[in-house]
């Protein structure tokens, strides 16, 4: 019986498949969205002052409408920003003008002096988005490098290669505190 069934002509199968393939090529996109992830602060009706943060724990980064960057009132270039932020957060010399540290017990790592510093990023309405992202990127890079260093010291591997719990531990030890302040005009 089986021998008697005639063979179906499959020569047009390729054409059908090609047609489908071309349809999918045209109708779909392949780009995976990626970007800098941030969490915005909750909205409050009345314009509250900045939360109570001691002056030494706050690093002010201003970007004005001419795309100039000022760190603590001092003009810097984008290329300097990462090292400035890193130096400030790490506070290796325990300078009393740089952010204080609080010893916390963290899984895997144990007692670790967690920096209490918050980087406050303020921009003008005229700042270009490109510069804003560059600044955000440099600040993120500073934190990522600190995390990488800590991760290498404790686990002997870069942060990206750790498993979930270890990454969380490192993230607890080096919290990425970048605050996007209330909008205001900056001279």
């Amino acid at each position: 019986m089986a021998r008697k069934t005639p063979e179906i002509n499959a020569s047009s199968m390729a054409d059908v498949a090609f047609l489908l393939l071309i349809f999918f090529l045209v109708a779909t996109t392949m780009d995976i969205d990626s970007g800098l992830n941030r969490v915005l602060p909750p909205w409050s009706e009345q314009q509250t002052d900045a939360p109570d943060i001691r002056e030494r724990n706050l690093m002010l980064v201003h970007v004005n409408k001419y795309d100039q960057i000022a760190v603590q009132g001092e003009l810097v270039q984008v290329s300097q920003l990462k090292d400035r932020a890193k130096e400030w957060v790490l506070n290796t010399s325990n300078d009393s003008n740089l952010p204080e540290k609080k010893n916390e017990t963290i899984d895997f790592i144990g007692e670790y002096p967690v920096s209490q510093g918050v980087i406050s990023l303020q921009n003008d309405r005229g700042t270009s988005y490109e510069m804003y992202i560059k600044v955000q990127n440099e600040l993120t890079r500073a934190f990522n490098e600190i995390r990488d260093e800590l991760s290498k010291a404790h686990f002997g591997r870069p942060y990206a290669e750790l498993d979930k719990e270890q990454q969380d531990a490192i993230a607890d030890a080096v919290p990425m505190k970048i605050s996007e302040a209330e909008p205001q005009n900056i001279k």
Binding site: F24, T29, D33, S34, R38, P42, Y132
Partner: protein, 158 residues
Amino acid sequence: MPVIRKKEKKEIGHISTSSLPDIVFMILFFFMVSTSMKETELVVKFKAPQATEIQKLENKSLVSYIYVGPPVESLQAKFGSAPQIQLNNSFSTPQEIGQFIASERDALNEADRNKMTVCLKADKDTRMGIITDIKQELRKAEAYKISYASVKAVGNLK
């Protein structure tokens, strides 16, 4: 000798194409799995800024998109070339963001609502004024998770 060569040529015959559909189907399935459908027609054009520390957006179904940029050429005669906000398929004002977020949130499962992320796809030449307005509206709409879409920079940013 030439006679023998002629005979050999005839014996080769044509190449069998019976496995061609299989190969094409394989490519087809690859594309079906690795791509996603275009959902919105862009009415603004944008070129994302470059960054090095980017993270991928994990779950696409939890992401809402806000596009910011100058209108595409064909619409510039009507809308000008100043940066505009695009929600869904049309131009919008910042005030409409609240409603947009609410409807996007309604479309999600109860459990996933707090995981919703807004992907802000803005042109690199936009000014921060419009971005700040959007951010303020997002805060009002309680959509706190935001991702500034950017492309991986090749080499060092300078």
